[in-house]
Amino acid sequence: MSDSLCLAGPRSAIALAGDLALAREAAPLYAAWPRAGPDGSAAAAVPPSGLDLSREGKDWRLSPRGAAVESQSFAQGYEACNGLIGGLIGEYVVQDPGLVSVHAAAALTGAGVLVAVADAFAGKSTLATALAWQDCPLVCDDRVVIVAGPPVQARALGLAAKMRLPLPDDLPPSFREFIGAATLPHWPGIAALALDGRHQCPFGREAPVAAWLLPARDPARTGVDLEPVERAAVVRALAEQTFAPHLPVADLLRRCATLAEAAPCYRLRYAASAEAAGWLADRFGRPA
């Protein structure tokens, strides 16, 4: 089966082509991403932007068109769907030299966007979802698009947050209810969340970065603390977690330094995500 689907990019459409069964399976994750109309034809994109999807036995192969990124294979199911989302974000940012994507979680507070930069399995999604639960709308739970500016801003793409199941033991009942009410029953072992407009920023919403956070979760500690860290620590984290194949590495490093310069840098020390989210929402305020 061969077909195509065009999504809106910052400069031109992003085409998904090939076997779109994967795009359909992943659709709940990018349901809020606008489709590109005929005027946003992917054919007009220079260079051609999009992903070619194909099966490789039981795996899926994703071949990006828009950047010097190698094709990747993913196991079928959630892993491939999440890989598709990563590929879409990659194709989105490479269209605009002012954009990068950072492996991070972000939520909008009254002061601006808090961006928690961390590798996989650091609890980013739980923290971002907990902030949404605390009425600080989710920007993204995994790969945050950052606009170089000035001002340096985070841009929401309306992507569904994902949490691994079973949920951590330390989540309070009201947070569990919040997650349960938003969960799309789609993949075993994963809660993909369809949050409402009060709890998630819509596609395209931008707001300045209020702080860079380096999460340091320690179940043994008591209370929550924001400890100022040297900017170099955030530059190093950003350099490790930023995806920007359209930028030479030296430019990427300078970009990371500029981003880190744009907002205060903290290490977030906490034991439980729900507690940390409430504390951060009180500290930075909730959006009006």
């Binding site: 900017r231 170099a232 530059v235 190093r236 350099a239 590495v249 490093l253 330094a257």
Partner: protein
């Protein structure tokens, strides 16, 4: 004693007191702590280890010589392993 020389076309980015370097071929990003950054800066002019030790001995007169020697050796190893500096000919530079 070998003279240490910076690899050409390494890109520097200053972040406060820290320094980040990018190797022109490998494109590896290397984060230098303050001492390693100071060694890198000192190698703006090629120098051997003895000259570096003399320089840092003047800058940190309270530090034991053995400690400084070990620290400088560590920094040179970091920079050399990352291909950011190379050991050249014997003797002091011209």
């Amino acid at each position: 004693m070998s003279v240490w020389t910076r690899t050409p076309e390494v890109v520097e980015t200053d972040v406060g007191d820290d320094l980040f370097l990018v190797h022109p071929d490998s494109e590896e990003i290397v984060h230098l702590d303050r001492l390693a950054g100071a060694v890198w800066r000192a190698l703006d002019e090629p120098q051997d280890s003895a000259a570096l030790l003399a320089l840092f001995g003047q800058a940190f007169p309270d530090q034991p010589r053995e400690r400084l020697e070990a620290d400088i050796a560590r920094c040179l190893a970091v920079l050399s392993d990352a291909g950011l500096i190379v050991a050249g000919g014997d003797g002091p530079p011209d």
